[in-house]
């Protein structure tokens, strides 16, 4: 690095409440948040998986747990997280292949992520949880 670089005083907007993310940025941070949420809830999900595949008693316990409205709500949220992460991941794979890099295409594909993941959450949530 040379010393001749002019250090400009750039404005920094780090107030999270004031940052207005563009749609691709919003979808992208949700990719991270959904991934983190899924990771944090892994013990719970693995517990559900293990008890559903265990003895008839543990399956009954699983059934009772999943019947709880609060648990249903959490699972519904995690289903959204999985589907958003899934759709966004496919979008990232296309970006890796240099498909859809320009701004209009990037915006359109972000819209598509929400347009697919949100209805799919409702449909699959309705089928699997209620």
């Amino acid at each position: 690095m040379t010393d001749t670089t002019i250090k400009k005083q750039r404005p920094k907007y780090l107030n999270l409440m004031e940052i207005r993310l563009p749609l691709p940025g919003f979808a992208s941070i949700l990719h991270r948040i959904s991934g983190a949420g899924l990771f944090l809830m892994l013990p719970f999900l693995l517990y559900l998986f293990a008890s559903s595949l265990g003895s008839p008693e543990s399956f009954a316990g699983y059934k009772a747990l999943v019947a709880n409205p609060l648990v249903k709500l959490v699972l519904f949220g995690l289903l959204w997280a999985y589907l958003h992460h899934f759709c966004m991941g496919i979008r990232f794979l296309f970006l890796d292949m240099h498909i859809g890099l320009d701004l209009p295409a990037a915006r359109a594909s972000s819209w598509a992520v929400f347009a697919v993941s949100l209805p799919l959450t409702l449909i699959l949530g309705g089928l699997l949880l209620w």
Binding site: M1, R32, G35, A36, L38, F39, L42, P43, L46, F49, A50, S52, L53, G54, P56, F59, F86, G89, I90, L93, D96
Partner: protein
């Protein structure tokens, strides 16, 4: 603009690739599982257990979970690298995550192979 100091053997290429490969494996498994569940007339305890007791399904499910845990490791590590600045705290968290994921792998293996 990030000024990268170019030292070391690799620059995250392996993890970058692993993140994508594991993602594709998980996506294929997810679609396969969804299709298998939709094809089942009714999901009971017996049919649910029978699904995962099949040899290929047990294998595929275990591969899915190993991919999931590797994928989670790279993702969580990236999050820690972005937000956790003190090196000691970050490395401690890395160790905790690795131990958790190794434990989860054993848990899943036990769940699947005692069917």
């Amino acid at each position: 603009m990030v000024n990268r100091i170019v030292v070391g053997a690799h620059y995250g290429m392996r993890d970058w690739l692993a993140q994508r490969v594991t993602a594709v494996v998980m996506a294929l498994y997810t679609i396969m599982l969804a299709a298998a569940l939709l094809a089942m007339p009714a999901i009971t305890h017996e049919s649910w257990r029978a699904l995962f007791a099949q040899g290929w399904m047990r294998f595929a499910t275990f591969v899915f979970f190993v991919c999931l845990f590797y994928h989670a490791w790279v993702g969580v590590r990236d999050i820690f690298m972005d937000y956790i600045k003190p090196t000691g705290v970050r490395l401690s968290l890395h160790v905790i995550v690795i131990l958790l994921l190794v434990g989860y792998t054993g848990w899943v293996a036990q769940t699947l192979w005692r069917l």
